[in-house]
Symmetry: C2
Subunit: 368 residues, 2 copies
């Protein structure tokens, strides 16, 4: 029998002794024994949020073998939860349950849950096992893969965290059926990003497939997630701790983080901010003479097709952007480094953007 697009796909993030698989497909979540190979011991804590718990917690638990000591922790939903205080709640729960260093944490939810639970695992007793079970498209194609974990600080997003790889990532595409359309679009921002930075062919396929993706057609979703994860896995394998090429994954993020920080986290979705940020990066790339007007138009069109913002917040001045961008982690030794596009399908790190070009872009970019 030939494989169909509804069969689970698996790929590997190649990181030596820290390598791990990503399994993608429908119906994985309740599949008995799916999680078993990745458990470090008998103690398991599933951490999720109030939105995801009623939808998928029971199914996740049902996918665990009998006889384990399983605990559950349900946190509030939302980016505002992505704080050190929430991570402390996880640590308190682990210690109150007497969990030892052979315990396993399961992160069931979107990127906020995955980042927080990963960070909690990274620092509990100096590091315990965890498994990513992402239930949003954004988490499935981006945050659950690559080992970046952490929480926000009032002075900056993801400022406190660690590199800590999961034992496995389990992507059940069925969970997208309950995802609000706005969050689907936010996830598509990162999918588009992979095309823009590294794979022009995938970008062209996305331009055709955007209606099918927004209609949640499983074969298209599976392909988009698989290709996105494969591109991310390649990059992470080349550069686990972001010394070089991994920085390209931040296309649109320096602008996007500035928007999120200015608005207060959780007003714009991360992917929405990245959507607008990618368009800003494309326009700046055009001002540097790298992209043609037609290529910028294609970028704008696919961002629009994904129902993502094409404008910056109305109340955000060029100066507001600059103040926020100076605090960005990628801004090394006070020199502003941006991820820009040499071509559609080819990103670069650029730290010599003339300040007046950037200032012009920030002043003239449309506001909502």
């Amino acid at each position: 029998m030939s494989e169909t697009l509804t069969d689970p796909r698996s790929l590997e993030v190649a990181l030596g002794s820290r390598s791990y698989p990503i399994h993608i497909g429908p119906g994985l979540l309740g599949d008995p024994g799916r999680l078993t190979p990745y458990l470090a011991g008998q103690q398991v804590m599933i951490v999720t949020n109030e939105t995801v718990a009623p939808l998928y917690l029971e199914r996740c638990r049902a996918g665990l073998p009998a006889g384990l000591e399983v605990r559950e922790l349900v946190l509030p939903d939302g980016e505002a939860t992505k704080s050190l205080a929430s991570v402390e709640r996880i640590w308190d729960a682990l210690l109150e349950a007497g969990f030892n260093r052979r315990c396993t944490l399961i992160a069931l939810g979107g990127g906020v849950i995955g980042d927080m639970v990963g960070f909690a695992a990274a620092c509990y007793q100096r590091g315990v096992a965890f498994i990513q079970v992402p239930t949003t498209l954004l988490a499935q194609v981006d945050s659950s893969v690559g080992g970046k974990t952490g929480v926000n600080h009032p002075l900056g997003k993801n400022m406190i965290g660690a590199f800590w790889q999961p034992r496995a990532v389990l992507v059940d595409t069925d969970t997208l059926a309950t995802l609000p359309p706005r969050e689907l679009s936010a996830g598509l921002a990162e999918v588009i990003k992979y095309g823009l930075i590294r794979d022009a062919e995938f970008l062209a396929w996305l331009e055709e497939s955007m209606p099918a993706l927004r209609a949640l057609e499983t074969p298209s979703l599976t392909r988009a997630i698989e290709r996105s994860c494969a591109l991310k896995a390649e990059i992470v394998a080349e550069d686990e701790t972001e010394q070089g090429v991994r920085a390209l994954l931040n296309l649109g993020h320096t602008f996007g983080h500035a928007i999120e920080a200015h608005q207060g986290y959780g007003i714009w979705l991360h992917g929405e901010a990245v959507g607008a940020g990618m368009l800003m990066a494309a326009e700046l790339s055009a001002r540097l003479g790298w992209l043609s007007a037609e290529q910028v138009a294609r970028t704008r069109a696919i961002i629009e097709a994904a129902a993502l913002p094409l404008t910056a917040p109305a109340d955000m001045s060029a100066e507001d952007f600059l103040v926020r961008m100076r605090l960005d982690k990628k801004n090394i030794n006070s020199r502003l480094r941006l991820i820009l596009l040499r071509e559609l399908g080819e990103a670069c790190v650029h730290d010599a953007t003339p300040p007046e070009l950037l200032g012009d872009l920030l002043a003239s970019f449309p506001r909502a």
Copy 2:
């Protein structure tokens, strides 16, 4: 000219790309340029405490090259400071100063400062550089070497932390001149430990040299620190993340941590608790038929010669010990693992101590 015992000694902790040197000797702290090779960039924060700051902060700062952006943060002294709240103060200060991921933290102080600053560095922007400048004997021979970082939780010591290696360790033996005698003894507990677990010859040398060490004679101190660091570096190089042999470094610590947790951190010094704990481990080893009465007597004598406690706290019952020991990190899957002595100079991990033997020891061990 031949090298003398007052010349700086250097040794290497061999951890591949994370290898780093330990420099040991008098006068290193204010030596210009000593720290320079280990700075990641232009931004440096020296973190110390209220006791150490008036003694050595100026000298540490003087050892840095001109032209850097140097900040200082002075935290309260004591084990009670070793909390997540203190680490948050460090992160707040770094963010308020706009420090980026090429910054360097310098931990100037004892084990508490080293562990906290190391953890702060491990998780600031997912990991920045740090340098250990330990000013207590305990930190010089133990906590500054090996990359264990972290803080206490109300439910357990060092429960939150990370493995994060420093760029270098700078041990200025002159700093011991201002160390209170009780803290010198606490450091000697760890020095004795290295002899007990791995080097019978060093143990014999320590038995002879204890008066010279307590009198702060520089050649003896330098030799004791160098040999202790070398033994620790060997063990850490074999087992960075404590999957095996590194556990032997915890001789006396399961008992000692129980004492510290029961008393409330900061009442007994860590080394004092370890001193009593090593004697408990030796006595239990004798009950298992491994050590002779004469060997236990030698163990007691050297612990006594270092002016360390030979008794457990008066108010601590056998049950108090057991409750605390069950929460210990070394207690994997609820089976109590203890580090015991096969011989003087040879430790082992033992997870099959008959409960009645342990109970008898805990009941009969003298109380103060």
